[in-house]
Each structure stands twice: as C-alpha cells, then as structure tokens.
C-alpha cells in the first residue's frame, strides 16, 4: 500500500514537471505557440484554478454555499500588494506577500465563518453574498490613503510571472487533494451528505465547516495575492459579486466536489472566452448560451438530455474515474 502511494506521488511529480516544461517550451519566442497575449490568459487561468479549488472545498466538498469568495480574494490582493509596495518585489518578499495575503484572507474567513456557518443552504448563500459585498465596501471606504478608495491601488510591481501562478495552483491542488483524501476530507463530505448522520457519528459540524472555510479562503487570498502582481492595478469593483459568481461557475461546471473537474472547467472557460473574442458583440450571449447548454447537458431532466447523457456516458464515466483515487 505504501509503495503504491509512493509510485502515485512520483507519477504526480513527473506530470507536474512535464506540464511545466511543456508550457515553458510552448511559450518560447522561437516556438511562439503561446504568444505573449495568450500568456496573460494562461496566468489568469492558473489564478482561476486556485480560486475555484478553494471554493470547491467549501461549496463542492463540504456543501456550504458561499457567494463571497471574491471578497476574500480582495483581502489577499490588497494585503499582498501593500506589502510588496512597502518593501520590494524580491523573490523572498513576493513569497512572503503571498503568504501574508493568504493568511489575512483565512483569518477574516475564520472570523466571518464562526457566525455565518451556523446558517444553512439559501440563508448561508445570502449571508456570504452580503459579507462579500461588505468586505468590498469596507475596503473602498476605510483609510483612503492606505487602500486608495474606489480608485484602488495602482503601480503594484508586476511580480506575478508564470512560475508564481503555476506553482501556486499546483500547491493548492496538492493541498486540497491530500485533504480530500484524508479523514478530514471524508468528514467534509459526510457533512455535505447528511449533517444529522455526520454529527451522530461524532463529527463536530462547526469545526469541519470552519476548517473547510478557512482553507478555502486561504487559497482565495493566495489567488488574490497572485492577481495583484498580475494586473498591477486593483480596485474594489474587481472583487464584486460578479467575480464570486464567475468562480462559482467554474466549480459548478467542473462538478461539485470534483477537483479535476474544477481544473478542466477553469481551462475550458478561459479557452472559450479567448475563442469568442473575435465576436465582440455576441460574445457574452454565446458564452451564456453555452453555459446554459452545458448545465442542461449535465443535469437536464427532460428525455432528450437524459438520452444525450446516456449516449455520452462513456467519456463521462471515464472522467469521474479519473477524479476518483
């Protein structure tokens, strides 16, 4: 059993290395498959993966609906940006900034989680939506000299390169995956599946929910920190409700609780939005229509969709086996 897990870790390590080298080669000026424009998309993609994996832990795996993820991202973004602006963008400081951003978001996540996670379902969704907005408004109005008010922070050193987002997303994936395949992860799923049964089997619901929330918001903060050094300018309005919905969309599209699905959905959505950029006017309509179609395909109840799912059941099955063990 131990040998098997070592082999698995090795395979994982090798795939990460291969992916890294492959993307690097595609980015080489001589190869130029991923040209500088596409490179910015690739960076955004990895930030999205980090964001969505954190939300998947909270919403997909533990079943706690959160519509405030972008708020926690902003906490990470602002604290990391401030830190780098006050110090320097040396590698050490960037790593420190990422850690500070993640911890700040997790700390606020902890404070907010204690009262809100008592709520269930729709009520929790509304509460987190409200809290996400409160974070945004507080950031906008508190200490304009420090945080820049509605205009936000500009001139943030562009410290986020491919390595930062790549390893940020890989670490996030490994942590969430290892957590998922541990006693804590099973407890999270148990809470999602049946709170009364989980509690009767000795699971402390509050602890598990807060644990998921803190870890999830930690990675939202990390993603925020990476985002600051990627755009250079951050404003409160970048972290509004719509951003939270964008992240939730990735999680739902990839399948609640399915971490490989999250990765694939984040890639697919970014590719889709690039592919549609030439159709400026209809772009959002096509995008939205495709989302509706995908959702219908995934969960539509009418005979047509049930049939379609059956026809495509082979690849779908394979995908879910991919995510299991």
């Amino acid at each position: 059993m131990k040998n098997k897990s070592i082999t698995k870790s090795l395979i994982g390590l090798v795939s990460v290395a291969v992916a890294y080298v492959l993307i690097k080669i595609l980015m080489l000026p001589q190869v130029n498959v991923i040209n500088p424009f596409y490179q910015t998309i690739v960076l955004k993609m990895f930030i999205d993966i980090t964001l969505a994996l954190g939300l998947n832990l909270i919403t997909g795996i533990t079943g706690q609906f959160s519509l405030g993820h972008a708020g926690f991202m902003s906490i990470g973004a602002y604290s990391a940006a401030l830190f780098v602006m006050k110090t320097s963008d040396s590698l050490l400081n960037v790593l420190l900034a990422a850690l500070i951003g993640a911890c700040a978001a997790a700390f606020i996540g902890f404070l907010i989680g204690i009262p809100t996670l008592r709520l269930k379902g729709d009520y929790l969704a509304i509460a987190t939506l409200g809290l996400g907005e409160i974070i945004r408004i507080v950031v906008q109005n508190v200490d304009q000299n420090l945080l820049g008010g509605a205009a936000g922070l500009s001139g943030i050193p562009l410290y986020t390169n491919f390595e930062v987002v790549f390893f940020g997303a890989v670490i996030t994936f490994i942590v969430i995956r290892n957590l998922l395949k541990s006693s804590f992860g099973r407890a999270c799923i148990a809470v999602r599946e049946d709170e009364i049964a989980a509690e009767s089997m000795g699971i402390n619901l509050t602890n598990i929910k807060i644990l998921a929330f803190v870890v999830g918001t930690f990675f939202a903060g990390l993603a925020g920190a990476m985002y600051s050094g990627y755009v250079g300018v951050i404003q409160p309005k970048d972290f509004g409700f719509m951003k939270s919905i964008d992240i939730l969309m990735i999680v739902v599209l990839g399948g609640l609780g399915n971490i490989w699905g999250t990765v694939i959905a984040a890639i697919a959505l970014n590719v889709l939005s690039v592919a549609l950029q030439d159709f400026a006017e209809v772009r959002m309509i096509i995008y939205a229509a495709l989302l509706v179609l995908i959702m219908l395909f995934k969960s539509g109840e009418s005979p047509l969709f049930v049939k379609l799912r059956r026809i495509f059941s082979l690849p779908k099955l394979k995908l879910s086996m991919f995510s299991k063990k």
């Binding site: 290892n178 099973r186 407890a187 000795g202």
Partner: protein
C-alpha cells in the same frame, strides 16, 4: 448494573407532548426493545438520548466507556458520540456518495491522532491512523458480510445491505451503547432472521448494550431480553417478552391501532 438511566424525560413540540415523563433503565450488555404504535414517540426518545433533540425536562445519565457517570441530556450528538453512544436511523441516513468502507471511517474520525497538517503532508502519524482505520473498518465489514463491497458507493447497495452498513457504521465509532431504529424494516423473513443473529453476534463481539425499536413483533419477542412499551408518549408497560405479550394495556394499545 445500569449503563443508562432516563428519569422524568419530557419532550414537547409546541402543544404536542411527544414524550411525557418517561423513565427507562438500561442494564449493561442488555438487548432492550422499545415498541409502540406509530407516532408513539419512540424515535423521539432515541433523538433525545443521542442528543439530536434537547429534552424539555428530564435527565439522561450514562455510564460511559471508562465507567464515569455523566449527565448527557442536552449534549450535542457529536458529544454523546464521544461518550460512546451511537445509532442507526429509521430512514436510512448513509453517506451515499462515500464508499462503504469510508462510511465506517467517518465513525472513526473522532479518534484521529494526527493534525490536519500531518494529513496534508502525509506524515507518518497520518499514515498510521489511516492504516488502522482501514484494518478496523475491514474487520467490521467482514463481520457483517460486506467486505467484498467495501469499494462500492453506499447508495449502490441493496436496501437490506444499507441497513447492515448503518449498523456497521454505528459500531465503527467504538460505541458501547447502540440504538437501532427499526433495523428490520423492509426486510423479508429470512433477512430478518439473519439480522437477529447478526445483532447478537455483534453485541457479543463488541460488548455492546443494544436498544432497538421494531414493529416486527416476532423479531422483537425472539431477540429482546426486556421490552418497554410506549403509547402516546408514555411508557405503559415494561417486562419480559412473555409478560408484554399477555399485558392487557399493551394489547389494547395495539388493538386500537389494528384498525388501519
């Protein structure tokens, strides 16, 4: 020697007195039956004793695994679970999207000795705990005859096996007192027969005290050592199966119901 002493237990839902002034004493290692017509308040009593509901009034005194006597009334279910109480549910409540063996491991989570950081970093204490959980879970599964299905999703098991899995999960918590809410419901006579044997076997193997609710009278009368009868929230009789079968009030309570 009693493991559980229930005194003056009451539960009101608004104006409804679901449980009124119930006294129950459960002896160590006993196989106790709780019977009564539909809506008598049996499940409510289980919910009160396991912490799902808070009693309106009354005390529940438990002698826990270490022999300490504590009041558990009003404690949350995850606390009563820590004190060695576990249960199954009338409407099966398995973790449907977890594998059979993982369902058992949920019951063991409260015993983990590693931290979340050790789990994320896959450190030795995590590996040791996981190995131990796996062995214990597979052993319990082998006793209930589900070891071959350990990797199956719980929702894919046939109904009878889901009931067995719930019992196995309750045992996996390491509980000493187990409440079974209608374990034979929906089973055919031969399955019920097997279940009786299984319950006795598990009770002996794990030195359990078992309290069970069941409507199948043949099952209850053959299996239980002592029986309490509940009607409209009150205990109307207590005694050996033979005594209960000939008790006038019990017959009345059931005849009144037989009209259905």
């Amino acid at each position: 020697m009693s493991v559980l002493k229930v005194r003056g237990l009451n539960k009101n839902f608004g104006g409804l007195k679901a449980v009124s002034d119930v006294n129950i004493t459960v002896n160590q290692g006993e196989l106790l039956g709780l019977i009564g017509p539909n809506g008598a308040g049996k499940t409510t009593i289980f919910n009160l004793l396991t912490g799902v509901y808070v009693p309106t009034t009354g005390t529940v005194r438990l002698k826990d695994v270490d022999g300490n006597k504590i009041n558990i009334n009003g404690m949350k279910p995850h606390i009563t679970a820590r004190h060695g109480i576990s249960r199954t549910f009338q409407n099966i409540r398995l973790f449907k999207n977890l594998s059979v063996v993982d369902n058992l491991k949920i019951g063991m989570h409260k015993n983990i000795r590693h931290s979340i950081f050790e789990a994320i970093l896959r450190l030795p204490r995590f590996i040791r705990d996981e190995k131990m959980f796996e062995q214990q879970a597979m052993y319990i599964l082998s006793l209930v005859g589900l070891q071959d299905k350990h990797a199956e999703f719980a929702m894919n098991l046939p109904y009878g096996e889901q009931r067995k899995l719930e019992i196995a999960r309750a045992i996996a918590t390491g509980a000493s007192v187990i409440f079974l809410d209608e374990p034979a419901a929906g089973m055919n006579p031969s399955e019920t027969e097997d279940l009786s044997k299984l319950i006795v076997k598990l009770k002996d193997e794990f030195h359990l005290t078992v309290i069970l609710i069941e409507h199948d009278m043949k099952f209850v009368m053959n299996l239980c050592e002592r029986i309490y009868v509940l009607d409209f929230g009150s205990i109307i009789a207590e005694g050996l199966p033979a005594e209960i079968q000939s008790n006038k009030r019990v017959i009345e309570a059931y005849l009144g119901e037989q009209v259905e």
